[in-house]
Symmetry: C2
């Protein structure tokens, strides 16, 4: 950030009074511009014994497989955002279940949320953000071609919990950037 979004004048990086971090401060109008982590909201959609994955048509991780997910928008809940992303990326009809994984990803300045969901129809209508969408049995998950560690760890929890039939919420951190 180089200019004030309120008045258009150049900003200064300094620690405001009663604060302890560098902020983008406007000396002209007095505005302090805060930056905060963003939430990514998504779904683990299950059709019979298979899991819905989408192949990304956008960066980052173009061509890799992901669970439907994207940035949470103003005015929606995490659940509403997760349903919207499933619609946008897969065109899947789902019945949303409970919140399942909550994952802190501090190096990406994000928190990820994945809901369990039941897919109601095998018909998919992937949107422009997906090359394709399809159903994978657990044996066929393309582990080496998954886009994000929040996706692979959510799938790992699901497979482990399926053995017990109990799907509690899981909260954990992914504290380091991925290996190159």
């Amino acid at each position: 950030q180089r200019y004030c979004s309120q008045c258009g004048k150049p900003i200064t990086q300094r620690i405001p009074p009663d604060d302890n971090r560098l902020r983008a401060v406007c000396e002209h109008c007095g505005a302090v511009h805060y930056q905060n982590p963003r939430n990514v909201v998504g779904v683990l959609p299950v059709w019979q014994d298979k899991i819905l994955l989408c192949r990304r048509a956008i960066e980052p991780r173009y061509d890799k497989w992901t669970l439907p997910a994207g940035f949470m928008e103003l005015g929606e809940t995490t659940a509403q955002g997760a349903m919207r992303e499933t619609q946008e990326e897969a065109g899947a009809q789902i019945e949303l279940g409970p919140l399942y994984t909550i994952i802190d990803v501090p190096h990406a300045e994000q928190v990820h949320f994945f809901y369990l969901a039941k897919v109601l129809s095998e018909k998919l209508y992937p949107g422009p953000e997906s090359i394709e969408a399809g159903f994978f049995s657990v044996e066929d998950i393309p582990w080496q071609e998954l886009a994000f560690r929040t996706v692979s760890t959510t799938l790992e929890h699901y497979i482990a919990d399926r053995a017990t039939g109990v799907f509690p919420m899981h909260h954990y951190d992914i504290p380091y950037p991925p290996p190159r």
Copy 2:
């Protein structure tokens, strides 16, 4: 937002190609400025049988009682943010426990997270954002003077779970603004 934070020129509100929402778009440099919900991270700190509350020295809800909580910062996890806020607002030494409540508050464009924690010393050093901080037995919680519904509902869950000795994560929405 009225000006581009990248180049300082006035912005236009329009729906970009391949999008479906009004965004702050800069026709000069092409930047699209997204806005996203923010996370509030806090703690339910327990000393023996008592709960630590802080009386707010800042708006909104000046003079009302709250659990230590504040906006999550870039580069930290929800847990790190919750510990930081407890230090800043109460100066309490704590041992952080598990994530306890996750609360969607869409009208405020926020998601709130509260962790359980054990207070390690009765000594408190409230910071400038608190008028005072103190310990309350369940019978003495000032229900009518609590600052936020995310605080009162987190306390209600805690009191109910204390009866069973099990403290699972709770996820719920507060879908409507508070009554005036």
